[in-house]
Each structure stands twice: as C-alpha cells, then as structure tokens.
Amino acid sequence: MTASQIRGLPVVTVGGGEDVAEVRDVIYSPEAGRLVGVTLNKRGFLAGRHREVLPAEAIHAVGQGAVMVLDESSLVDPQEAPDDVGRPATERNVIGDDVLTEGGTSLGKVADLVLLVGSAGEVVGYQIDKAGGGQGFIPLPAQLSVSGVALVVPNITEEFVQDDLVGLGAAVDEFRARMGLT
C-alpha cells in the first residue's frame, strides 16, 4: 500500500477497539528503506493536532482499514520518540519532489511512497508522475540523496521505471542486484 493511503487511517487499539487517533504524517528513512513513525491528529471532524506520536516499533500492524496498536500506551510523548518522529522535518516532504538522475534527466515527480503490505513498514519504492505523462514506479534504494525539493537517483533507475506495482515487486530484486546490494 502507499503512504498516502496510510495518512488519515484511524489508529485502533486491539484490546479496546477504540480509535484513539488518526495518522497525520508518515515519516520514513530513505537509507534504511523503512517506516520510522507517524505523527497524529485527533479523531473528529474539527479536532486538531494530537500532541503524541507513534514510533514504528509501537505499531502492531498496518492494514487498509486501520493502523493497529496494542493499547493507548503505544502513543508516546514527542520527547520519548526518535527525533525524526518527535520533531519531523516537515520541509523534507518528498511528495512533489523532482526525480532527477545523477546525469541530470528528470524522470518525473514523486507522487507517493510504496510500502510492502504486511511487512514491518518496509519501503519498496516511489510512485511517480512520469515526465512524459502517466504513472510509474521506481524501486528503492533509488535515491542518492533526497530533500524537500528533489530526489537524486542513479542513472540506471531510468531503465527500471515500472508501469504497475506488480512489476515493481519483480524490479526491486533485480535493481538491487544491479546496484550491488543484495
């Protein structure tokens, strides 16, 4: 599933069946290729921001209907969470980033982040709006560097732009082999 599908999901306790919060921002590590945590909003139509955050270790599971936690104590004070989750670098939002090869070609713009279903928040790649039009997917580790403005990727990434998620799954292994990482 994608990161934008996770944003807005309710955070539900397994034992209590209560929606204690909902997902605001998704924070991931491009180097580790993993979800690191999420920030929260309160539940309710006009409710505001939730002070507490949810580090990835405290997440029991992520499904298409909800993010599951064991109980309310899984939500922690920002000071008790890793810095990137407690004080997220909101200027490093990758949505809309230009995808640039190290050679200087733009492959398109980042539309979303793709995570592996049922894994412990493993990131498999990016969904992009291709420069020529249409949607594409590029595998992770795809970036040499990332900011709130651009994603710089190795030149060979251009060969690995997939049309759908099915293709992405297969491309990830080959891409990693080509990059010398297994």
């Binding site: 944003r7 605001r24 991931y28 920030t39 670098a89 490093r92 949505i95 560097s145 900011s147």
Partner: protein
C-alpha cells in the same frame, strides 16, 4: 359618578349601570361619542407593535421596531462566513506535512 368607559377598539361600551342610574348619563354619552371621533391611540399589542403611543390613522397598518429582512440576511451571511472560516482553519491545521524523509547524513 361615571366609571371609566372601556376601549374595545372601534366600539365604545359604557357600563350599562351608568345609563340607568344617572340622569346626566345621556349628555355624558354624547360627549364621549364626539371624542371617539378623534384619532385613536394604538394600544393593540402584536408581535412587532408596542404600546408606544404611536398615532395611527384609522385603516393604517405599520410596525414599530424589529429587524428588516435585509438585516436578517446580513446576519445569516455573517454566521455562514464565520463558520466557513473556522472550518477552513481547522482543516488546514490537520493537513500536516505529508510523507517526510528523515534527516540523514545524505
């Protein structure tokens, strides 16, 4: 001694006891009939009228006080605008930063 006559709108009713006991009643009645032709003070209480002593001529209708339809429209308009502003402000606060990369070495 005559008791106060009661105003009942257009009709003037003089207590009947006056007519029978007091011989001067007739002349008094005449005087009152004359005075009933003078413009009446509007003492009817309706939802917008108050007994302010505003003088109406017979057949004239009118309102004293209350808000005009334009006034109501403006008030409703203000409430709608304020509600929309609150809605927009709160929804923006919830929007968040998006999908955020950690601050790596790179």
């Amino acid at each position: 001694m005559l008791r106060e006559a009661e105003w009942t709108g257009s009709a003037l009713s003089v207590p009947s006891i006056v007519r029978s006991r007091h011989p001067e009643a007739n002349s008094d009645q005449k005087r009152r009939r004359v005075s009933s032709r003078r413009p009446r003070r509007c003492l009817e209480v309706t939802s917008f009228n108050r007994a302010r002593g505003h003088q109406l001529r017979p057949g004239e209708t009118g309102r004293v006080g209350g808000m005009s339809p334009i006034g109501w429209l403006i008030l409703v308009g203000i409430i709608v605008v304020v509600a929309a502003l609150v809605f927009v402000v709160v929804r923006r606060r919830r929007r968040g930063g998006g999908v955020i990369a950690t601050r790596g070495k790179r």
